[in-house]
Symmetry: C2
Subunit: 349 residues, 2 copies
DNA sequence: ATTAGCACTCTCTTTACGAGAGTGCTAAGA
DNA sequence: TCTTAGCACTCTCGTAAAGAGAGTGCTAAT
């Protein structure tokens, strides 16, 4: 209306919308006849055909073969999501359902993440994916060192949000528990409240500044501190409802399924995709090839970051076939992300 | 020879063995002709046919339809595993490969479990499953309580083997960190070195014994201690290499796959199955329907417990189609279980 | 006891064919 | 000029028929 599209008329938009709607719920190529019938345009099938031919030329639709109906392309979905889709809201029932499922998970960040992935999975009937708190961004609440063996130390890191990370390291010299306690006390004083990114900087600065390192305790402390924060994975990924993807008719073929599940096992690929969504303040939709991940070309992602104290902490997402009901996914993911942010805020001390 | 089978002749055994061998690597019904050819019996196809008919009557073989070859039944596999199979050993290359893959995981129990499931998966080309340390059996090394919010406490439990468990609980009264430290000190003295099973008993005994509970500190300590050990899952389950199962031709059908992956998501079902294997000191093979799990009728499990300090701690297993190379799986699982036990022993302080 | 021979059965693949759905194009109508 | 009715064409899909292939069970001969 106000902003006239350069090359896409209002009618073309209406037909594209209709085709996508039909295709999303039938999973079968959509013909001109059914569009003309089901959506009460005052247009006959022949006109629809002309318009569809135009849309195909524009790259929004494709034909699996001559004389089949049309199927949306990635580009078609993209246009739909950006310009055609009318946002819906979740029904109050759905919202209530989500909230109820979350209530038992109150207070445990990891449990919350896991539950979120499962809720998203079951409501979207796709895979629900959650990118957990970014390690770098966790704030140190407490460090703890436990001596497991003379040369082996368990490092435990508790963040203010209640996330616990731990790992075992081997040290060169024997460190009795006594000394570990002193080290922990020192580091806790030094690092309390800092994010791990800051911790890394502080430790490096200290180590440079006190080159000499006469103090053995100090030296050990800095050394152990570095071990704690180094080489950690970017973040944890939680996946729920993966079986729903198998229900989609487009993946009846076993080979495609394998490719997809291989990606699920290799979580780094999911991390890479979801990481892109963290920079955007709001909700992101990535469609098919836009994922730039060989093996996932036929999937789309709807993702949204969630926040703690104003900073994006992680992301929730739905991963399903490109033929997914985008409006619904957008509202579902958006609602869930806001809810998670709210729960996290309610928990921060 | 020495022990003449009541109803199974030596020749029948040989034919059954041959059929199972062929079927395991072809996945197709085995006919009399190919048995006669491939295995240089001095018997023609017709004789083989007679023997196969006998084996069918005995319940060891079945025909998908008249005039197809024979296929082993669950009972046939069972007989094969119990009486026919000749044990193999892994090749030194395979053993070396396993050991190398484990070396980076040294010292971290959780990492070791995860890695084990993946190694088993990739070497068996089936799903690798590990039932982690049984919670009940962990020995308390250290308890730690961190106050996250006035009414919310993070409980951390470190076991002597380096396993870390944690959870967040909500408490009725405000507990400052100061007091939590005192509580932790008390409980650490009381519980150090006990298994969680014993911890439970000790706490119950104390609570009964000191009914009055005049001491607030004591009351709180016992209360928090109970929260720490109660309601915990039986054990963690690690699964690796699930995608291999999809490669099996018998699961090309999407519906069967779904059933199987549903079981993977619902880990309690796997726990139930593997738990059965913990009681047996050695290796267990469970075939098809013997699993007694609707949805997994076409799978078999080869499992073996691993030990720490003489007590079974958890189990490693391979989960694949009933048509799996049992000899190889048995040696693989056996070797891996022994290796895991060894690595655990090497780590105990 | 073994096996050759044979008729029979069942699956799988190929081929043919018609129904159905959809298209593109052309020409007529608004 | 835009719309649409009509029509020939194309492609898929399901069904049916036919033949090849593999395997069996039975009988009779060795």
């Amino acid at each position: 209306m106000a902003h006239a599209q350069v090359s896409v008329t209002e009618r073309q938009r209406a037909v594209l919308r209709a085709v996508i709607h039909d295709y999303i719920h039938s999973a079968e190529p959509v013909g001109s006849r059914s569009v003309s019938r089901r959506h009460a345009f005052h247009l006959g099938p022949a006109s629809i055909r002309n318009i569809m031919a135009d849309l195909e030329e524009l790259g929004y639709l494709a034909q699996p073969h001559t004389s089949a109906g049309r199927v949306p392309t990635d580009m078609g979905y993209r246009f739909y999501v950006d310009a055609l889709m009318d946002p819906t809201r979740l029904t109050p029932e759905e919202e209530g359902l989500i909230e109820r499922r979350f209530s038992p998970a109150r207070g445990q960040v990891e449990g919350l993440m896991r539950e979120t992935s499962q809720v998203l999975g079951s409501l979207s009937r796709c895979a629900g994916v959650v990118l957990g708190p970014r390690f770098e961004q966790l704030q140190v609440k407490r460090l703890e060192f436990v001596s497991l063996a003379p040369d082996r130390v368990l490092l435990i890191l508790v963040s203010t949000s209640g996330v616990v990370h731990h790992k075992v390291v081997t040290v060169d010299e024997v460190l009795p528990q006594e000394e570990l306690n002193r080290v922990a006390r020192y580091l806790n004083d030094l690092l309390h409240g800092l994010t791990l990114r800051e911790v890394r900087q502080v430790l490096l600065a200290r180590m440079a500044e006190e080159k000499a390192l006469y103090d053995r305790l100090l030296r050990r402390a800095l050394h152990l501190g570095r071990k704690t924060v180094e080489g950690e994975p970017f973040a944890e990924v939680y996946i729920g409802g993966t079986t729903h993807i198998m229900e989609q008719p487009e993946f009846a073929d076993g080979e495609k399924m394998r490719a997809i599940f291989a990606a699920f096992e290799e979580k780094s690929r999911l991390v890479k995709i979801l990481d892109r969504c963290l920079d955007d303040a709001g909700l992101t939709v990535i469609i098919g090839r836009e994922l730039e991940d060989v093996g996932l070309e036929e999937l789309s992602v709807v993702a949204s970051p969630f926040f703690q104290g104003g900073a994006p902490l992680g992301a929730v997402a739905v991963l399903g076939p490109t033929r997914m009901p985008y409006e619904k996914m957008v509202s579902l993911v958006g609602y869930t992300a806001r809810l998670v942010s709210r729960l996290l805020a309610g928990e921060a001390s």
